[in-house]
Structures are given as structure tokens and as C-alpha cells.
Amino acid sequence: MLKFIPIKAVAGIVGFESPAAEYTQLSLDLDQLLIDHPSATYIGIADGDSMVGDGIFSGDLLIVDRALEIKDHDVVVANLNGVFVCKKINKSKRCLMSSGDNVPPYFLQEGDIFQVEGIVTRSIRLHRPFTKSL
């Protein structure tokens, strides 16, 4: 079942104040809905199919929050040896897990440059491509 986000509309009655006017909400703002920490949130674009098991496909938008505490099995964006990667983190085994077909986990080794950049809190599918250039 599709659930709609309720936004109340104003009835356009002239000469008589709409009784619905008091219930008007501000128009929906996606930033407000999707982003909890504006000053610590970044948007990225997924590249590759290694995370399809978590519903992240190549070209999806990723909303990355840097303010959150990392928990085991979070989907994160991390800096691995100078490249941003999107993986699921397993802290106890010190490894990065993919969820695509036949992608083995990556075990962190000594000498690896590794730093979690943020947690992927949302991913957004673009069913039609952007009409504006980024």
C-alpha cells in the first residue's frame, strides 16, 4: 500500500475565510523530511552494483550523515585508500561487506587508509534521470 504524506490544502474561497486556512501547513520540504543534521549531511551518487542487496543501485542518490554514531551493519560511505566506497560495516570482524552478487567481504589490513565518512541514512532511486545538470 502506498502511503501519502498528508499535506493540507487551502480552499480558495473568496470573501469568506476558509475554515481550512488555519490548518495549512508549509509546503513539503524534502530537506526537512530527509535530513536530520543539515550541517553534517552530504549527498553522493552510488556507482556500481555491489550494494544491490540493500536496495542501492548504480546512480542512486545517497544521503550521508556524518553526525551519527556508527553501529554495526550500518551502510556507510568510507574513505578506503583514497577512494570513497559504500559498504556495510562489521566492526567486530573489521571488515566491509557488500551485498551484491558474489562480492566477497573486504577485511581491513594494516597499512590500509580507512576512515568512515558518514552513514547512509537514505538512498533515493532516480526513475527518470536528472533534467538539470549537477
Partner: protein, 140 residues
């Protein structure tokens, strides 16, 4: 009590936020039209290259020999990251005065009581938070 928060080599470190491949390399940022050097990151400074305001053409060879990454100024990027850094710092004090693109004063009042964890630990917490949330190294 005041706190002064200042980003280390702001422009050069901003370039590293969205490009992890240059995080461990010497980065030098040039002024408008690539005329002079206007910022060099800590790694570049330690190598003794990227002295501020030197004309680029004079040190071009030297920088290339040291493997420096050269970037033109990208003011939109710096303004965005500056705003994020200020918003983050502002959470730590009742009053903030933005002094420049990379510096702000936090004001705690004339006879401010030290926070439970102590002033120094609070400053460390501010530094830590800005690094974690904005990926900019600051002094505070």
C-alpha cells in the same frame, strides 16, 4: 570567556573534504587566475613548499617536483564548508561572532562558569566535532 576557532589552512583542507585521494598529499591552492599561492596544507608546509603569496610561475617547477597537488580557488566550496563549520561551532556556545571565512569567536559571557568537563576538554570536543561532521581540522 571566549573561544577562538580557526580552520587550519582552510582553502587547502577544503579541497581534501570531497577528494579522499589527495588527503595524504601536499595540496596548494592558487589565487584568482592562478596568480599566486594563497594556501598550502600542513603536509605541503612540512615539505617547505607553497609559501604564501609567492607567484605561481616562480615555484611551478619546485611544486611539481615535490608532487604537490595544485588547485584553483573554488569559493563556492569554501563558502559552503565555512557555513557548515560555523553552524557546528555555534552549537557549543550561547553566542558566536563570525570573524572571517575560517574563524569565529564563541562567547560564553563575562563571568562564565567553567563547564563540568573543563574549558580545555570543551575545546577538544569542538575540534573533534568539527572534524567528524565537516572534515575540517581546526584549532580552538
Amino acid at each position: 570567556m571566549y573561544a577562538l576557532c580557526d580552520v587550519n589552512s582552510m582553502y587547502a583542507n577544503c579541497e581534501k573534504v570531497f577528494d579522499p585521494s589527495i588527503r595524504n598529499k601536499p595540496v596548494v591552492v592558487l589565487t584568482n587566475n592562478d596568480g599566486c599561492i594563497c594556501a598550502a596544507c600542513g603536509i605541503a608546509k612540512r615539505l617547505g613548499i607553497g609559501k604564501k603569496f609567492l607567484p605561481y610561475f616562480q615555484v611551478k617547477k619546485e611544486l611539481a617536483a615535490a608532487g604537490a597537488i595544485i588547485r584553483s580557488s573554488n569559493y563556492e566550496l569554501y563558502a559552503d564548508l565555512s557555513q557548515r563549520m560555523m553552524d557546528t561551532c555555534a552549537r557549543f556556545a550561547p553566542d558566536i561572532n563570525v570573524y572571517s571565512i575560517d574563524e569565529c569567536f564563541l562567547y560564553y559571557g563575562k563571568q562564565a562558569k567553567a563547564p563540568a568537563l573543563g574549558w580545555e576538554a570543551l575545546a577538544a570536543q569542538i575540534r573533534h566535532t568539527v572534524w567528524r561532521e565537516v572534515r575540517l581540522p581546526i584549532c580552538c
